[in-house]
Assembly symmetry: C2
Homo-oligomer: 431 residues x 2
Amino acid sequence: MERVDSIITAGMVLPSPLTAPIHDGAVAIQNGLIVDVGPKEAVLSRYDAARLLNRPSSLLMPGLINCHTHAAMTIFRGMADDLPLKIWLEEHIFPAEAALTPELVELGTELACAEMIRSGTTSFVDMYLFEDVVASVVDRVGMRAWLGEGVFDFSTPAFKDGANALQETERLLNKWQGHERITITIDPHTPYTCREELWLKAMKLADRTGALLVTHLSETEWEVQEMKARVGRSPVAYLDSLSLLNERMLAAHCVALSHNDMELLTRRGVAVAHCPESNLKLASGVAPVPALLRMNGRVCLGTDGAASNNDLNMFGEMRTAALLHKGVGRDPVVMSAPDVFAMATLWAADALHRPDIGRCERDCRADLVILNMDMPHMTPCYNPLSQIVYAANGAEVSDVLVNGASLMENGRLLTIDEARLLSRVKQLCLN
Amino acid sequence: MERVDSIITAGMVLPSPLTAPIHDGAVAIQNGLIVDVGPKEAVLSRYDAARLLNRPSSLLMPGLINCHTHAAMTIFRGMADDLPLKIWLEEHIFPAEAALTPELVELGTELACAEMIRSGTTSFVDMYLFEDVVASVVDRVGMRAWLGEGVFDFSTPAFKDGANALQETERLLNKWQGHERITITIDPHTPYTCREELWLKAMKLADRTGALLVTHLSETEWEVQEMKARVGRSPVAYLDSLSLLNERMLAAHCVALSHNDMELLTRRGVAVAHCPESNLKLASGVAPVPALLRMNGRVCLGTDGAASNNDLNMFGEMRTAALLHKGVGRDPVVMSAPDVFAMATLWAADALHRPDIGRCERDCRADLVILNMDMPHMTPCYNPLSQIVYAANGAEVSDVLVNGASLMENGRLLTIDEARLLSRVKQLCLN
């Protein structure tokens, strides 16, 4: 009998969107790694576990990966809705962000982590301000994250200009280097808020450090027109003309794309973080994701920030992605449950160049989620993947592990004092 | 002190989408009716209650009204997804329905009720087969419902033809007459599955009894082309040519509408049950609801059956309705949170000619729902309506009352043996 840290048994184990579910399965975990997955009897006969978690009525699956968010914006959730973009941004979000402090970012990030863990997200990609504070929260809370300080040509409450923000990025790259769960990214905000010089500096830093470049790209038709007026090219074509597009870029939104833009993105291997709910709510439109997939484009999924969603729930985001494109494209076959689940797991791991996450398989990191299937809306279960994408809402999540450590057990958060957190948020935000 | 059956106090009471929320509010209930709503101190000083329910961290609101579903189809949830409509219907749904029995309908309806109660729905409008069985379940479970036997030109597992189904409808109208919570409707299935003669018979019965006429209308572009080929008119224009359109008709879907169709529907006062998620999943398209609202059309909201959704969650449906039209119509102001909440409450009550439901106000039926607001994704709460429509997912529901009686208390169903129900569904469906 080999000794392992823990074994989880579950009524069903879903290793990945590509693999058949294992009925009465189990997973053995050692040092944060999955060392075995298989039928319960086989796993239990092979290993002796310090800790045994039995969930006979549940489904065990890989944790979800939110590939685009601004976690701390939870503090602005529902502050302003149903407004034209310009009024929303200029009269509500910008003034609120102008008053941003490290303390508010810390609070909003912890709130976001609580919400994400509760709804089955184990990893997230974040771009915001005071990102060092975000990293400290992630370190303490135990999630996995890709974090980048927002780089702009203008000043933010955190930094006076883009050069300063890039210096901070370099400091963060050094500070958090080697952290098991935290990876620093380089985040020029958009093609229209960063000048050519800043983009090239960012790229140089990315080339030198191997870090991912995370940005917003072609979110709106306005952005396309603006860039055409400024530089005579679409945002995608503009970044390509600077040789910035490659497989280490993660670009959020990509709603307003020409056929040429799509060809560039797929040819260069740029990963697109599709954010359907935010794009709908802000009236930006519907990203041509089925077309990108037909061209073998790399696509993952994100919620965007809570000010434009208004939640960070990846189950809802998967559902919206699966439903939306069928109806808008009049094709009931596109964005199938396996594809959409892959966008939130396997394909997200690919976008992050981390083949060891996003699946519940041997030698992968134990980033795992357990869903209680004994609920009316999850019954009957003919097909677990279909249930996850079309019926689940995230409230089924009972247990969450990241790197083998439990962040939630039986519906209780273990690394966050939830009552204290919620009362602090109310105190600071609602006065 | 006036004696009442019960008083509920809540951190916030939201009487309707038109009314400001009452902080630290309370509701007094007597004989299934709301007799008072106001600040907690005022209500508590006026009444002496046999039962007091305190929910200081919660929001009390009117129960949601699902204006179009086929409840029993929960037993087909996730049985077949991501398929072309024809294959889905002909190779999966029709064969499954051919084997339908009263026992399966009873089971599926009880499962639907469990799911609907858990997600805050207190009333629903159902069209299916063996509807007498559905009524028995609703009677026992305690929900409020509008129920109609599906009327077709062809035979169903329940009846050999439309005339028989109409006879059954008449029997049900007599049998359930005067029931406080159950109303029988007359349900010709669609313009293309019922001949003119059957429609006219249905209308005659509706005129004689005052019952509502519930149907599916203009769900797809195919239906429009089919009716144009058969009778030279769109489905809406066809029903109007038979003088069938009036304010006692509740028509589901209405996706494929010409401008003339929209004018007819609004001029005749037909209520439209918008089912955005089902229309997306089956690739039917997006109903022109913002245009109908601009024309002062009557619109409410429904989930459709669980085979094409795949849940019966009205919170999700509200969210999809609010997001979808903004993105598709490129207008962030349409389908505001108050409008969408009205579609699920006030405007639904109007569609059902029942001004005494859909709001939490004096002299209305006590059909009420309590949401736990002390959850990360519901915090902070700048605006409760925005939170309900854009952030809630239904899992916040802790308590549900219909006609003053508790159907769920503190997360536990009181009128359904949930464990037994789920095990029976698994037994009957998954073998």
